[in-house]
Amino acid sequence: MSEIVENRMNTKPNEDLKIRIDRPWSWKRFFFQWEWLLVIVLLLVILINSLLSPYFLSLNTFISTPATFLDKAFIVFPMMFVIMLGRIDISVASTVAVSAVIMAVSYNMGLPMPLAILLCLITGSLGGAINGLLMVKFKELSFVIITLSTMIIYRGIAYILLGDQASGGFPKWFSFLGWGSILGVPFIVICFIITAVIFGLLLHKTSFGRIVSGMGFNKMTCEYSGIKVNRVTMIVFTLAGLMSGVTAVFLTSRMGSTRPNVAMGYELEVIAMVALGGVSTSGGVGRIAGPILAVYIIGYLSYGMGLANLQAPVVLVVIGLLLIFSVLAIRIRFSVSRKNSAV
């Protein structure tokens, strides 16, 4: 029967099938999606912000402001994959620090800047690959313990390399990455959009994305179905490391220098964005639009509260509340959709 698979190109879509293969359109399914709720929340945030501050509502807010909060957003996409696998990587912020420090130190030791950037990305990928390798080789260790250990280790390496100092003095063009813009659109925003498109296609249009979701739902079935589960785990964690390297580049460019204690707490913010984006921490469920909206919601929230002169701790409280709300809302959504599918 496997000739069905081989000859599928020659077969015309026939109507003889007893089972339907076209997806029936349903308004309920279309509007009953988490992302619509996020859109409403985003609009609410924008509305409140513009009430709080007369300066908020302007074209600038929508084009250039994101450049202030998008640095960590690059990690959101691979973190989404990690969480869809049913795991969490809390070492990403430390990976950012160690990559940034290695870039700065190697540049100041005479390495040309482009190569230093490349080294930064390689360091990040390596950090992620080590996480993946540990996870695949030592299945009895929990992912929390593994990434907690590497979180401490990577941060420690950053301190060993640089001490408690800052390192900078990068060439002028380097600051373009974080501050420059093309046709009025900040370079970092353009990069974010490109990354979002790439990861969106990867998740929804490739077999790799399909498998990531499948492994999150039921890893054992994937193993029995001949999926190279270890390889997928390795790739996902390596991607998390690589994108941490990307974040390190943009963060360093924006700050002009780097220190071993940069990006403190990024991992939690990133995980919060992914969770708010409707990605289930038990694995499997997730669509690309959710985390993107979540990045903007949390970004504008902190930005707007800054405009209103609210202190940073208040912002944290609000983000925490938002997260609890989102988890509760997801539960309600699931119980409703269960009822629907049971009918």
Binding site: M1, V5, R23, S207, C222, S225, K228, S341
Partner: protein
Amino acid sequence: MAEKILELKHISKSFPGVKALDEVHFDLMPGEIHGLMGENGAGKSTFIKIITGVHSHDTGEMFINGNLVSFANPMEAQEMGLAAIYQHVTCYPDLTVAENIYMGHEKIKRYSKRIDWNKMFSEAQELLDQLGANFDSHERMGNLSVARQQIVEIAKALSTRAKIIIMDEPTAALTQHESSELYRITEGLRDDGVSIIFISHRIEDIFRLADRVTVFRDSRFIGCWPMEEITQDKLIVAMVGREIIQMFPKRKVPIGEKVLSVENLTRIGYFRNVSLDLHKGEILALTGLVGAGRTEVCESIYGINPSDEGIITFDDHEIVIDSPVTALDAGIGFLPEDRQKQGLILDWEIGKNITLPSLSSFSRYNWLDEGGERLASGQLADKLNVKAGNIFTRASTLSGGNQQKVVVAKILTRNLKVIILDEPTKGVDIKAKTAIYEIIGDLVEQGYGIILISSEMPEVMGMSDRIVVMKEGHVTALLDTSKCTQEEILNAAMVVKTPRTDAAVSEAREG
């Protein structure tokens, strides 16, 4: 004659799509050991769960000491003096023996409401001494052997002052010596006036211990005999029955050349020196009791848990299989026993499930051809007659039989020569069963070689060409289906000590 302590009349129980118990009777005298036997799936486990209040029965009546009772939960059953000891000991390995014994009914100090440790340990010790156990109640549960854990479970039953103790295959994991120790304890309990329901697959257990034996088959009550009135052979016949070979659409398919052969496959601790071969168009049944190592052998052939020693030859080439990836690439497919945990992604729709093993043939540079995917999965679902509106139906909403068809469809997306089916009809209703047999018939007609793991005797007899019987990790018999009887198979699965090979089969193969 003494009053019956427990009596069940006309007990029936259905689960969705399956009739688990059909008008079953049972009775138990005070101070009696009553054996309960039946093949896998005969309804023994459901029966116990009804007695102990885990399930409630649909129809029928249950009496304890002549009073009509019905239990809403296991607590109520416990209060009435019932206790069950399960096949797989369910304990807390990190706690002490005494804590395990009194789990849920700890000794509490009267006024302070704190746990009375001294009393608990000393009373636990008394129970253990009473059972003749020579270990301490302070011992950590996880340090004990299975046999000793079993004794702790019995002590636990006694600590609730149980008058009726149900033992579900207590000797399955015990050595000969440990079994005789258990016999002694069981008889001691009987002499103290406790009634015991003793479930076992080992005929020797029943003849050694029981006063009477009750046999279930196909969810029905077959009979109840005092031990002195029944012989070993009669007991086996009662368990097997003699019918329904006709429902199997076994087709005459010419047997082709050898496609898979396994020599001296060994996985330490699971099975040893297993050899078998499989031809094109042949159905080779692999049978034996649960725990005989059938699934483990096939999981090694499929690469889930690679074997430690042994040679696998496929299509005249010796191959090394270290993962399902290599097995599938070579041409060996596997339908796992637990379709919900190992076969399907329940949250996914049918279509995505079907194409999971062959995503690479539906994508170019990882880019999915979703149209081709939908068409192929639709055609396969159609061919196998999956009952669903469209291929976007979630797998979790399908019935057991339809879920199984989806798992079969998954395997068929690959280019295979050998398919291993592990209990393909487990937990599906009779109609779906017949449909699955039809599918198996189609497959051998197309030249697949099939290994069918099955515990159901009629299925083995009705579908296979040859039968490999396993017991405790060894192959105990290789039989030609057309020339053997069910008694021979059961004998090899339960009684035979030394491996033997049916001479007629090897002659037929050589000739």
